[in-house]
């Protein structure tokens, strides 16, 4: 459900950088889309998946039920040695800070926090959870999307591998859907591309889950400078179809 593009968490308005890539002529057809997706998955996709998995592992799913466990407690499941983050929000706070550092584009930072807020809103409505409430209250500006996704996944009873899979699925299907809308690509051909990516998605999800307890600072930091630069330019367009 979390990975379903119809889950009402705001993702439909975002193209994951595809709109900018189309405008720049970097994606024109199904082959171009596949190359874009492979690049995105190997870079920001893998990073996002690792943070979603780590957040899922770190989120206290409420057995403590003391109302402050989740947001303030980094010592429980993580054991990563960074539960004493200076901001006092424990491992999730450390993850959020490290993800911020891996997102150099201010536009993408804002997008990620927006999608994180919307993810928590949707998750808390679908599955009311004191831990998620505490999380939302602890950082009103919003958690980065993979942190929110990981916590929501845990609250829904999922594990780090599944959180990573959801993140990767989203990283691939968001731009793919946008490509169908923007370029009028054959939807069957686009889904054939997605089907072809499944082994890579699975491989990346397993790798991300294996790093779920890694100290936040040592989590993957694969980046895609062109996506960052394009996102900054995209944010200045006067006319655009997607918010990012």
């Amino acid at each position: 459900m979390l990975a379903d593009g119809r889950f009402p968490a705001g993702g439909h308005a975002h193209s994951g950088g595809l709109e900018a890539a189309v405008a720049a002529g970097r994606v024109r057809d199904t082959d171009g889309l596949e190359a874009f997706l492979r690049g995105r998955l190997a870079t920001t996709g893998a990073t996002t998946a690792a943070f979603a998995a780590a957040a899922c592992a770190a989120f206290d799913d409420g057995t403590a039920a003391d109302g402050r466990g989740t947001a303030a407690d980094g010592s429980g499941t993580a054991g990563g040695g960074d539960g004493t983050a200076a901001d006092g929000r424990g491992r999730l706070g450390a993850l959020d800070g490290e993800f911020e550092a891996r997102t150099p584009s201010p536009a993408l930072r804002a997008t990620s926090r927006r999608l994180g807020r919307q993810m928590l809103r949707a998750a808390r409505s679908v599955r009311p959870h004191p831990g998620l409430d505490a999380l939302a209250g602890a950082l009103p500006g919003g958690w980065h999307q993979p942190v929110a996704l990981g916590a929501a996944a845990r609250a829904l009873g999922l594990g780090p591998g599944e959180a990573a899979s959801a993140a990767l699925h989203d990283a691939a299907t968001g731009p793919a859907t946008a490509a169908v809308r923007l370029l009028g690509l054959d939807p069957f051909a686009v889904h054939a591309v997605l089907a072809g990516l499944v082994p890579e998605l699975d491989r990346l999800a397993v790798r991300a889950a294996g790093e779920a307890d890694t100290p936040a600072a040592r989590l993957p930091s694969y980046g895609a400078p062109l996506l960052d630069i394009a996102a900054e330019l995209h944010a200045t367009w006067e006319v655009r179809l997607f918010a990012s």
Binding site: A13, S125, R240
Partner: protein, 225 residues
């Protein structure tokens, strides 16, 4: 509600009957939907002008592209910038008001937080087609705006906006003669589709303050919450 602290929707989950209940102390939310070019933004501007002296209001726009509608309201001095929020909808204006309302809810709550207290938030959808309709999770009432130049068959074609909106506005009646639209046909078909639900004919050229629509909005405000 504190910023991000309270549970979303606990104040405002639709009832079993599908209606979003009013919450005391929180603004009434009215959606305005309708096809491209039917005059939604002009009607929002008229309502803002008519209600400005008596109602603390704000507007959320949903543009298909960028922030054109929000810019229109600002350029025309209808509302100051802090009272207008633009939501971008990713090619799918109907999704943002119906299937995935999260960005719009966030915009509404953002306005509520930054401009307390508010009496009314108008949520204008992006121009769409006759299938557009607002989620009951987003607005308390919805106005559907069509215009005579879309053809006098529009009410007969139906769709959730024409049939089930709380108010149907047939706009640009001053153009009826030029486009060969028969207003009596539109009135008859609308009544057939809508039963007792109200219809208002409007020409912002002849009635820049949209008197009847303003009255309808005032009545909804007076119902309280």
């Amino acid at each position: 509600m504190s910023a991000g602290g309270g549970r979303p929707h606990d104040h405002a989950a639709p009832t079993a009957a599908g209606r979003l209940p009013r919450t005391p102390g929180r603004p009434l939310r009215i959606g305005l939907g309708g096809p491209v070019g039917s005059g939604k933004t002009a009607l929002v501007a008229a309502l803002c002008r008519s209600l400005a002296g008596e109602t603390r209001l704000a507007v959320v726009t949903n543009d298909i592209y960028t922030t054109e509608d929000a810019d229109f309201l600002l350029r025309n001095g209808v509302l100051p910038a802090e009272r207008v929020r633009a939501v971008e909808t990713g090619c799918c204006p109907h999704t943002a008001i119906r299937d995935d309302i999260s960005a719009n809810l966030e915009a509404v709550e953002d306005l509520e937080r930054s401009l307390p207290p508010l009496d009314l938030v108008l949520v204008e959808s992006g121009g769409d087609n006759l299938t557009a309709t607002f989620s009951h999770g987003l607005v308390h009432h919805q106005i559907f705006v069509v215009d005579v130049s879309g053809g006098d068959k529009v009410p007969r074609k139906g769709g959730p906006g024409v049939i089930a909106s709380d108010l149907l506005v047939v706009n640009k009646t001053d153009l009826a003669r030029q486009v060969g639209a028969d207003l009596s046909v539109m009135a008859r078909d609308a009544e057939e589709k809508r039963g007792d639900r109200p219809v208002r004919f409007l020409s912002l050229v002849e009635d820049p303050s949209a008197r009847e629509v303003t009255t309808w909005v005032r009545e909804r405000l007076a119902e309280g919450g």
